[in-house]
């Protein structure tokens, strides 16, 4: 510590002498009446008002196309006829219970040939929002794979992940988390 201090002192002393030529001059200067700096007038952005800023908005490039809202919006209603399936923590593997539920769901979907089903994957609040979006998608895809194996055409099944954004139970314990790790079903309008 002392040695470091000494070294620092020596360095600082040297630097001070190096700087001295100029420093001395400035010391003398400060004895004289202090002259005003050239007036700095900031005419750049900081003085702009919010309405000025709005006018500076970068226009959308013509390459960006807004697609038709009607054509692209996916609207769905909860499928009350289809039962929710649940998952273990950080897993998208279907349990025996989940497979039983899906068999019943599949029967209804096969009977109602006109419907298109959206499978919505969800997660509990643990883990990051981003990673849970991916995990929720994997859950929905597990369900869809199984439904396809039960004879439902791929075109009738759509994946959507909500990650941890739509919990059914707002609690912070295992009971709440177990309810939130799920795949829900909706019918696409």
């Amino acid at each position: 510590m002392n040695r470091t201090m000494n070294r620092l002192f020596i360095t600082l002393f040297c630097l001070t002498f190096i700087a001295a030529g100029c420093a001395k001059k400035e010391m003398v200067k400060s004895e004289e009446p202090v002259t005003e700096l050239p007036k700095a007038v900031e005419t750049a952005p900081p003085s702009k008002t919010p309405s000025d800023l709005k006018e500076q908005v970068i226009p959308e490039t013509s390459a960006v196309k807004e697609e038709s809202l009607d054509e692209m919006t996916i609207e769905s209603v909860p499928a009350t006829q289809l039962k929710t399936v649940y998952f273990d923590f950080d897993s998208y593997v279907l349990s025996a219970d989940a497979r039983d539920t899906l068999k019943k769901n599949a029967e209804w979907i096969l009977k109602n040939k006109a419907v298109k089903v959206q499978v919505q994957g969800h997660c509990d609040e643990r883990g990051s929002a981003e990673y849970n979006l991916a995990l929720g998608e994997n859950r929905a895809k597990s369900v869809i794979k199984y439904l396809q194996a039960l004879g439902i055409q791929q075109e009738r099944l759509v994946v959507l992940s909500f990650g941890k954004e739509k919990p059914v139970d707002m609690g912070h314990d295992e009971a709440a988390w177990a309810k939130n790790r799920r795949a829900d079903f909706a019918l696409i309008k």
Partner: protein, 428 residues
Amino acid sequence: MKKIASFLIVILLIPVLLRAEQNYLEVIAQGSKQLPLAIAPAISLGGGQDGEIAGTVGEVLKFDLTLAGPFSVISGTSGAGQSGIRPGEFDMAPWRAIGAAYLIKSGYIASGGTITVEFRLYDVARGKALAAKRYTGSRKEMRRMAHSFSDETMLAVTGEKGPFTGRIAFVSRASGNKEISVMDYDGHNVQRLTRNRSINLNPDISPDAGQIIFTSYKRGNPDLYRTPISGGSVARISSRIGMNFTGAWSPDGNKIALSMSKDGNPEIYKIGTDGKLLARLTKNDAIDISPSWSPDGSKIAFVSDRLGSPQIFIMNADGSGVHRLTRSGTYNVNPSWSPKGDRILYSRLHPGGFQIHSISPDGSDDTQLTTQGRNENPRWSPDGRFITFGSNRGGKEAIYVMRADGSSQIKVSRSGGGDSQPVWSSRR
């Protein structure tokens, strides 16, 4: 001895470091010796007193420069040299007497809705003005004028401007739904950018601070949208089947790295700012998300669970040379590469929840920066000296800022809770 040594060092450093300004901040940060900076109350330069301007200017300067790092801000300086702000118009001796190394003087003129605020930064020992700026604008711009001079003060003392005129875009649940909002970095002037009552996530700001990209469920599917930071038209730029999420502007502003699941599972792609597909960067059965560019645009840090659990990886910007960065912790996410290129922030899941870590891009020197509550989604200030992040330590989710070394953690959200996923724009 030690005390005298510290004192002497400070005295000796002043002339030396004012000449070698570039190295100044680093010296201070390592020795934790802060230089006393006095902020004189703003005075009227004509047209009468205005308590709001005086109070606001003083409050903003104090907040910015206390967070800044190189300074210990001296308050309670009434009585010392109130008259005039220009060199020669006031007596420097009282400021010297209270031990100030730096002094900020300011004055204002208010006429109608327009105000002019003028600032001076002085080196007290030499009696010399280091920076002088005058700002004119509407009353609403009052805070921004003061932030702007805080940036200038950092420039004069450290050789690099501060980030205090930058804004923070974030996810706000103030309306009940997750919408994108933007605020000054200190939590003031909140403006909502989306009102679609859907779920809006993962904002990222273009390097020129003009545009924001984010993921929204507004049309049912998680698609990527782009909107000017000042509000206005919203363009959908990627609506490929499956998820279009965790978008990140490239440092040159010409491209976006984005995770999409259109080819079966989340992979990272490069797209143009108009949404045009440029390249696929990852290809495997695992989840690949959350890209973050190195400042030179040559590399991308990202999250992958290809080895079982989510970890931070680095690849070249063309997808080659993938290697794992984080080697401890079982769940590491949200990488953010520093603007200077020397550090990568990330969130690690500890038994009690997420904490923020900082690691060197070569995998060495992994340091935990937070301990209180749960803390995640760290992002750098544009100058790399500060970090903004989301924390629930106060009981509710809020946006916080701190210095790059984890010191001076302070809440900036002023809402009743539900603020998350902040990102700090470059200065205006």
